[in-house]
Amino acid sequence: MYDPRLAWMLVAPVLLLLIFFLLLPIAVMLVYTFFTFVTAGVESATVTLANWHEFLTDGYYHGFLLKTLRVGGMTAIICGILGYFPAYFIWATTFKHKWLLLLLLIVPFWISFTIRTFSWIHILGEQGLINVTLLKLGLIQEPLQMLYTEGAVIMGLLHFLLPYMILNVYVSLESIDRTLISAARSMGCTSAQAFREVTLPLSLPGLAAGLMLCFVLAAGSYVTPQLLGSGRDALFGNLIYDTIMGQLNWPMGATLSIVLFMVLGCFAAVYTRYMSMSQIVKGLGG
């Protein structure tokens, strides 16, 4: 009934795209990690392990890698907590125009990412909304330093990633058969029990997908730290960007990119395993 040949035909366009625009370029990059850096913008095809040696022996890179994973993880978890509420609210509300609520949450998502990131300066800056208001009220004498901190970077990342999270959770909630909840309630479950036993588990695939997305996008970002953080708040992506665009050291930049790629790939592998387990949960529900 399920013909594998048909399946291959269905996935062919995406597969070709992935091969020619993803795998092959990554292979080229992988080759590049063994090239020798001559001077800014010039490299030779002489095979060397210098780039890998530098990465493996230099604590500077390790520190930033760990920090990037920490910031990415924190951002994803906060996103998950903050994002679940609106997604659940929109899904469960009896409000007639709930599409409007959904739409309003997607609208920020539509405004250029660069503009949105930059706009935080109007809120957190010394002449930003918060400082100006607090100063006017006399609550503080000196403007608070909020911009150019790790907090500001996480704030910017949250702002950018929340819609991804909410969309994912919402789509997953929407696919829940609501009669299940009614059934649970009619069988004597409290609303909390119904949520814990029915709604939450069934929305987990969306939450997991959202967490994965947020973590990865946060860990791979470099524009947000650039605009909202100080140099110290740089993430691994900034290291890559600076190495490639600033130092024009493509072999080292390629090495760092491949490292980030592999590390995030491990997380993706774990996630895929988790997802297949959740599919079993789903199967039981069906």
Binding site: V42, G231, M245
Partner: protein, 380 residues
């Protein structure tokens, strides 16, 4: 009609021989031109357009607006040649792109002087201008041309404007006397901790650290002291800015009271009435900008464009628009009062008062220093 077609074919042939256009484009254009020989067909326009469009990449914003308004639009009106414009935010970005494109994809670049010029030279991306086609080059300051000629006897670029990265300070907090007395030391003055700024650029940071440690930026002996100073400024700084807009924003809002700054941007702030003073300390970092023609460009058209841009009337108008003095020799060309008042303007035309970066010295150290700076800027 017939003659012009023949001429055009010859021109195409010539460009093909020079490797300026690919064989395929050449054949297509030749075929198009040949089939329409003697007939005025719409094809013709395309074949002609391919020979006359000039591609320009610059810094965008107010600077490029000025160039477009005062140079490109009149040029197009006069010659019929179109200037296709692009922008970049960081010159390394465009070098990366040039590296990965074909000769001719990018043609004229608004480049940041010899420090960058040498990168194009090393990447083999420079061309050879026929100076005979640029008579207005005679008006350009010789001291500005020389550093380029040192790198390539046959120029690939013409100097266009110059400026300095001096010290800008908020006059409501710092008096001109104090600024003058302290000079570069203000950038590491604990009194202004958290109110100091600076350009997030290796050259600028090392340059000012060298000045503050009493060294010659073009011949640094104690590099450890320089890096220590860079770290000191980093720890006292509120933020290292990375664009002219950000610099103006930080200064005008009073978020920083002292920073190294681009002379033209400070001039713009002063014109808007902000209480910002500007000082070029001894050994202040001077730089120039040039119009660079890359290998594979339609040379005749580019030379014509450069000549047009160097025309005193055009050059002065652009300079007033972008607040940077033009490369014109003030002893040969009468400049306007507004230009003479611009910071960094050198009325003598000797450029002796200005210290430029020695391109060879800086290029030799660029890779290692850039790497170290990247680390320091990230808290290492």
């Amino acid at each position: 009609m017939k003659i012009s077609t023949t001429k055009r074919l010859e021109r195409l042939q010539e460009r093909h021989a020079n490797g300026d256009i690919s064989r395929r484009t050449f054949l297509t254009l030749t075929a198009a031109a040949a089939t329409t020989a003697g007939l005025n067909m719409p094809w013709m326009g395309r074949a002609l357009a391919a020979t006359t469009d000039v591609r320009f990449d610059g810094w965008g914003g107010v600077v490029q607006e000025a160039i477009d308004k005062y140079a490109f639009q009149p040029y197009t009106a006069k010659t019929g040649n179109k200037v296709v414009q692009g922008t970049f935010g960081d010159e390394n970005e465009i070098i990366t792109k040039i590296k990965t494109s074909k000769p001719g994809d990018f043609q004229v670049i608004h480049s940041s002087g010899v420090n960058y010029y040498i990168k194009y030279v090393n990447a083999g991306a420079t061309s050879e201008l026929n100076e005979a086609n640029i008579p207005n080059l005679a008006n350009v300051l010789q001291p500005m041309i020389e550093p380029f000629r040192k790198l390539t006897p046959k120029l690939s670029a013409v100097p266009y404007d110059y400026g300095t990265t001096g010290l800008a300070y908020n006059t409501t907090v710092i008096s001109p006397e104090e600024a003058k007395e302290k000079g570069a030391a203000m950038l590491a003055d604990k009194k202004y901790a958290g109110k100091i700024g600076g350009y997030a650029d290796m050259t600028t940071r090392v340059w000012y650290a060298a000045l503050d440690t009493g060294q010659d930026p073009n011949n640094i002996q104690d590099m450890d002291a320089v890096w220590a100073k860079v770290r000191e400024t980093r720890d006292l700084a509120k933020k290292f800015w990375s664009s002219g807009a950000e610099l103006m924003d930080l200064l005008s809002k009073g978020e920083i009271v002292v920073t190294d700054a681009w002379s033209g941007r400070v001039a713009a702030l002063q014109q808007q009435g902000h209480p910002i003073g500007y000082l070029d300390p001894s050994g202040s970092y001077a730089w120039m900008e040039d119009m660079l023609v890359l290998k594979g460009s339609p040379m005749a058209e580019c030379e014509e464009l450069l000549n047009f841009m160097l025309d005193p009337a055009t050059s002065i108008a652009v300079a007033e628009g972008q607040n940077y003095p033009p490369s014109l020799d003030p002893t040969k060309v009468k400049l306007t009062e507004k230009i003479e008042k611009l910071p960094a303007f050198d009325p003598t035309g000797q450029m002796k008062a200005l210290t430029f970066a020695d391109p060879i010295y800086w290029a030799d150290n660029e890779d290692a220093w850039q790497k170290q700076w990247d680390r320091i800027s990230k808290g290492a």
